[in-house]
C-alpha cells in the first residue's frame, strides 16, 4: 500500500495577533523573522498515515510538498516523524498558485513520480489560507473517492479501508475501496507524535528529491482566483471592563450587560 501525505509549509499559526501585520501592497503577511512550520492539519494527516502504515504492515508513506526550497524543512520533519520518502515539487515557476493550481501540480506529481498511489492524505485545511479545498479538488482531479474529516484509517477487506470520520452528530465508520483520498481533522486519537532526536538527526542527512511543476494542464495554467486585498480585520478593541466593589456588584453589572446583548 502506497500512502502519500501532502504537507504544506506555513507561517506559524501560533503567532500572536499583535505580532501579525500585512504588507497591503504585496498582499501577504509582513512578519519579522517569520517562523515557518508544517501546517497543523498536515501534521495530523501524517500521523493518521503513519498509524495506517503501522496497522497495514506492508505499506510506505511518502511526504509530498509543493513549495520553495525552505519547504525541505517540513519534508525533513515528515521524515523524522516516520515517512520513508519525500518529494518536493518546486513551486518557483508558479507566481501565486491558487487552490486549483496547487491541486493540479500535486496531481501531476503524483501521476508522474509516485504512481500508483493507494491513499492520498491531506489536512482538513491549510493553516494559512484556511481554505480547505485542495483535498476535495485533488480527489476530483484524480478520480478518487474522498472521505472528509477523518479521525483514523485502518485496513479493511483486501483493497479497502475502514475509515472513522467526524459527522455532525458524532462519528461514523465507513468502508471505501482503494484508491482513496482522505482529509483529516483532529481528535484525541491522532495527536502528532514527537520525532526522536536520533530520527531528526538522520532526517537532516537525507536528501529531499525535487522535481519541477512541469506543464500544468491548460485549464490550470493560470489561477482561477486571485487575492486582490489582504488586510487586518478591524478589531473594536474597546473592551468595557466591569467594575464593582464586591463580586456581587460585578455579577449584577455582568448580568445587565448580558441583558443589553439580548442573550439572557
Amino acid at each position: 500500500m502506497r500512502i502519500v501525505v501532502c504537507v504544506k509549509q506555513v507561517l506559524d499559526p501560533e503567532l500572536p495577533a499583535e505580532e501579525f501585520a500585512v504588507d497591503r501592497a504585496a498582499r501577504r503577511p509582513a512578519v519579522e523573522n517569520p517562523r515557518l512550520v508544517m501546517s497543523t492539519f498536515d501534521e495530523i494527516a501524517l500521523e493518521v498515515a503513519l498509524q495506517l502504515r503501522e496497522a497495514a504492515g506492508e505499506a510506505s508513506v511518502v511526504a509530498l510538498n509543493l513549495g520553495g526550497r525552505s519547504a525541505d524543512e517540513v519534508l525533513r520533519k515528515a521524515l523524522a516523524m516516520g515517512a520513508q520518502e519525500s518529494l518536493r515539487v518546486d513551486a518557483s515557476s508558479l507566481e501565486e498558485p491558487d487552490g486549483v493550481q496547487t491541486a493540479a501540480a500535486l496531481a501531476a506529481a503524483l501521476r508522474g513520480h509516485l504512481w500508483p498511489v493507494d491513499v492520498v492524505v491531506c489536512g482538513r485545511q491549510a493553516a494559512d489560507t484556511d481554505a480547505g479545498q485542495v483535498g476535495p479538488l485533488l480527489a476530483e482531479m484524480l478520480g478518487f473517492p474522498v472521505v472528509t474529516n477523518v479521525l483514523r484509517a485502518r485496513p479493511g477487506a483486501p483493497g479497502a479501508l475502514h475509515v472513522e470520520r467526524e459527522t455532525e452528530e458524532g462519528t461514523e465508520v465507513v468502508e471505501v475501496q482503494l484508491p482513496v483520498l482522505l482529509t483529516v481533522t483532529n481528535a484525541e486519537c491522532n495527536v502528532p507524535r514527537m520525532p526522536r532526536v536520533r530520527d531528526i538527526m538522520a532526517a537532516q542527512r537525507k536528501t529531499v528529491p525535487t522535481v519541477g511543476v512541469g506543464d500544468l494542464p491548460p485549464e490550470a495554467a493560470s489561477p482561477w482566483t486571485t487575492l486582490v486585498e489582504l488586510d487586518l480585520p478591524r478589531v473594536e478593541g474597546r473592551c468595557q471592563m466591569i467594575e464593582g466593589e464586591t463580586v456581587e456588584a460585578k455579577v449584577e453589572a455582568l448580568l445587565a450587560e448580558l441583558e443589553r446583548l439580548k442573550v439572557v
Binding site: 497543523t40 486582490v228 486585498e229
Partner: protein, 333 residues
C-alpha cells in the same frame, strides 16, 4: 448575473436563511437575480423550504429531489448539484460551508470548471464592477478579498455569517417553482459505504450552531469546573466549548475544542471563562457576534478580542451568575 443559492433540505434546517442572505448580499452589490435550488430526498420538505426561500426574496426556486438523497452520500449530492447547475446555468453558486457543503463546493466547482472560493463572510464590489468575496485567512488574523476569473464561481459561506428575514408573504405559485429531474444523475453507486453511526451524547445544541457558547480554558482548573460551565450554558440555552489547553489537560472531550484545529463557532455570545485567548483559539471564535471574557489576568489577550470583560476569579462570578439566572427563571418561568 444569476446567483443560485443551494439549500440541502432537511426538516429542521434554517440554513436556507443563511445562503439566501448571502445571495441577497451578492445581488445587491452586483445587479442580478437570486434563485434558490433545494436538494433533498423528500419533495414535500423541499416544497416547504422553497416557500421559505421565496418569502426570503428568491425570484425562482428549483426543486431537485430524489429518494436516494436520503443517505447523504456526498457522491450523490455532487452529481445532483452538478446536474442542477448545468440546468440552471448560474454565474454564482452559493453553498453553506458546513461539513457537507465544504466538501461539495470544490468538488462541484471542478466538475463545472468553475472557480472555488470557500468560507466567505462578506461580499463587495470593486471599482471595475466585479464581485470581491471576503474571507478570513491566517486563523482570522487577516481578511482577504478574492476575485474569480471564471465565468462560474462556486462560493461556500461560513455558517451564521449571513442571514435573511422574510421580505414577503404568500407563495411562489406554480410559475415560481421549477423542477430539475435527477433520475439518472443520482443513480450511481456511492463509493463510500457507511458501516456504523456513533452518535455523540451531547447536552444542548451543537457547538457550530449554538446561539450561546460558554468556553472554558486552563483557568477552569479541572473537570468538575466544566460541570459548572455546563449548568450556566444550559440556563442560557447554549452549550459548552473548551480551549486546547483544557482539552489537552483532559478536562473536556476533544470534540468540544474551539480554535484553529478545533471547531469554528459563530454564536451570538461567546462567554470565555478562564481562557487566555491564544491566537489559535481566537481563530475559532472570530465569527462570534459578542465576546464576553472572565479572567483573573487583566493582560490576557482575550480582553483585546472581547467587548465586555470581568477581571475576577471565575469561581467567584460563575456560580453567582448561575444562581441569579435560576432566580430569574423561577420568577418568570
Amino acid at each position: 448575473m444569476r446567483v443560485l443559492a443551494v439549500v440541502l433540505s432537511s426538516p429542521s434546517n434554517s440554513a436556507w436563511a443563511e445562503v439566501v442572505g448571502a445571495g441577497r448580499a451578492a445581488v445587491q452589490v452586483a445587479d442580478g437575480a437570486l434563485e434558490v435550488a433545494v436538494l433533498g430526498p423528500e419533495e414535500e420538505v423541499a416544497q416547504e423550504m422553497a416557500r421559505e426561500a421565496w418569502r426570503g426574496g428568491a425570484e425562482r426556486i428549483w426543486l431537485a429531489t430524489d429518494p436516494v438523497l436520503q443517505d447523504l452520500s456526498s457522491d450523490r449530492y455532487v452529481a445532483a448539484l452538478t446536474e442542477v447547475a448545468r440546468a440552471v446555468q448560474p454565474t454564482v453558486l452559493l453553498l453553506r460551508a458546513d461539513p457537507m457543503g465544504a466538501e461539495l463546493g470544490p468538488r462541484v466547482a471542478w466538475r463545472l470548471q468553475a472557480a472555488s472560493i470557500t468560507d466567505v463572510v462578506g461580499v463587495r464590489r470593486d471599482p471595475e464592477g466585479s464581485l470581491l468575496w471576503i474571507r478570513p485567512m491566517y486563523g482570522g488574523k487577516a481578511l482577504a478579498a478574492v476575485r474569480s476569473h471564471r465565468p462560474v464561481t462556486v462560493v461556500t459561506v461560513r455558517p451564521r455569517a449571513f442571514s435573511a428575514q422574510p421580505v414577503r408573504s404568500g407563495d411562489p405559485g406554480p410559475e415560481g417553482i421549477r423542477t430539475v429531474p435527477l433520475d439518472e444523475a443520482v443513480r450511481i453507486v456511492p463509493r463510500i459505504r457507511v458501516l456504523e453511526h456513533r452518535r455523540q451524547e451531547t447536552t444542548g445544541p451543537r457547538l457550530e450552531e449554538a446561539r450561546v457558547v460558554v468556553g472554558g480554558g486552563r483557568g477552569i482548573g479541572g473537570e468538575e469546573g466544566f460541570r459548572v460551565l455546563e449548568e450556566l450554558a444550559r440556563l442560557m440555552g447554549g452549550t459548552v466549548g473548551a480551549s486546547r489547553a483544557a482539552v489537552d489537560a483532559g478536562w473536556a472531550p476533544g470534540h468540544l475544542q474551539i480554535g484553529q484545529t478545533g471547531k469554528k463557532i459563530a454564536p451570538e455570545l461567546y462567554l470565555a471563562v478562564g481562557i487566555s485567548g491564544a491566537s489559535q483559539h481566537l481563530a475559532g471564535v472570530s465569527g462570534a457576534r459578542h465576546i464576553v471574557a472572565i479572567n483573573t489576568d487583566p493582560e490576557a489577550p482575550i480582553f483585546k478580542a472581547a467587548e465586555v470583560g470581568v477581571v475576577e476569579d471565575w469561581r467567584e462570578i460563575v456560580p453567582r451568575l448561575v444562581e441569579r439566572l435560576k432566580e430569574r427563571k423561577r420568577a418568570d418561568p
